[in-house]
Symmetry: C2
């Protein structure tokens, strides 16, 4: 009998090729975790993430699950992982969960955060987490555009995978454009039931173009209706994006 | 005629050999700044820092001053510096100041912050700013010890330079041991009129030894009285230390 473990992971994605394992020349978060679990158990352990994150994207609360032979203590597993993980990946929580729990299939909501420095220079201590745009943005226009991107809609125009065959309908519950008074940092949070490939980064790029007045907030419905990636804005850089957390049914 | 400029600088010290310029193989904050000012003005410009920081030590509010030929606009000077500085050094403020202003001689107070992760793994996003101790500390004992290290005293036992000839009397106004409930991070702030070489790090190392119960808080007066570096604790690692700010007479 195997037992099922759920872990919460944070990582600074800067020097990784994203979450998802990639065969031989593996430099991914999933790969690092699996290598350590294999060392610990002496057998191959497959980790299921709540979803992929692109190369360079960070996570404060990625969630994954995996099965281990019976009889392990959860805190000891977490300790072992943290001892062998590099400094830029950490397991922040672990719990044993029912056999049926699957981190991707059971995820109900995800929250992403995208941070933009509009001033001339990023704060040196958080620079790796921000996109250094270096130009002022019209936050009010971005908020009007963000409102129009919320809902249950076909987000095909915001999908980076042009060959995607499955449904591109998703529910985006909220997009909030935060800006503290006097701060030159703009943070956009996205909450939804799932996001297509690059979707958060393309939405962010589109909102940035609105903020730069390169396009009007009123264009959003037409962009959605076109179902054409060409109609949306640029893909904002990975470094500004962070998977903030994943919510499950019982939470 | 030259004009005098005061700048505030933040840096992540991780990859530098400290603040102070070092001849040929220069990899210092001061050196980087002077190189850019030389490029800008076509002449050598000497920068005076409020004080040195060791290799690997960070700053949120280092202050320095330098003289430039007349007719420069302060914001343009800051913009030029930030354009050519690497990502881990930033100028956050600039102002033209009276000729007599000197960042080291006029400094009235300095604040340092030392951060310690007592849990098994540092938060990946702030890890470069923390010492990863990985052991619990007795905060109350540290607070009792800290109280005894405050005052106008001879801090020779806490001086890393054993050949120091000048007075090692300093005034330490406060040492505060912060720990948020539920947090495994301990932050110690030091406010004083000046600190000897490695003094904050040796005080921190001594407080850590008290927190680990390797020594009693009651030993502090004897350590001070000994005027002997051997009596104090270890020199805590540079990575946990940050020069938070420098206060001048008129502030």
């Amino acid at each position: 009998m195997k037992e099922n473990y759920k872990i919460t992971i944070q990582y600074e994605g800067t020097r990784y090729d994203g979450w998802q394992k990639q065969g031989n020349t593996d430099n991914t978060i999933q790969g690092k975790l699996e290598q350590i679990l294999e060392k610990m158990t002496g057998e191959l352990v497959e980790i299921h993430g709540s979803g992929r994150t692109d190369a360079g994207v960070h996570a404060m609360g990625q969630v994954a699950n995996f099965h281990l032979p019976e009889g392990q203590e959860a805190p000891a597993v977490m300790q072992y992982l943290n001892r062998y993980l590099p400094d830029d990946i950490a397991v922040t929580a672990i719990e044993r969960v029912p056999e049926r729990f699957h981190s991707r299939l059971n995820a109900v909501k995800k929250t992403y955060l995208y941070q933009i420095e509009t001033g001339p220079k990023r704060d040196v201590f958080v620079r790796r987490m921000q996109y250094g745009l270096g130009q002022p943005l019209d936050v009010e226009a971005m908020r009007l555009a963000a409102k129009l991107l919320v809902g249950t809609q076909d987000y095909k125009s915001f999908c980076g995978n042009r060959k995607m065959k499955k449904s591109s309908v998703r529910t985006v519950e909220s997009i909030t454009v935060h800006c503290d008074p006097g701060s030159s940092v703009i943070a956009i949070s996205f909450v939804g039931n799932g996001f297509l490939q690059n979707m958060v980064r393309i939405m962010t790029g589109t909102l940035i173009e609105v903020g730069l007045k390169k396009r009007s907030w009123k264009e959003m419905p037409a962009i959605l209706a076109a179902k054409d990636r060409q109609e949306a804005g640029f893909t904002a850089p990975a470094e500004g994006l962070c998977l903030a957390g994943v919510i499950y049914g019982d939470e």
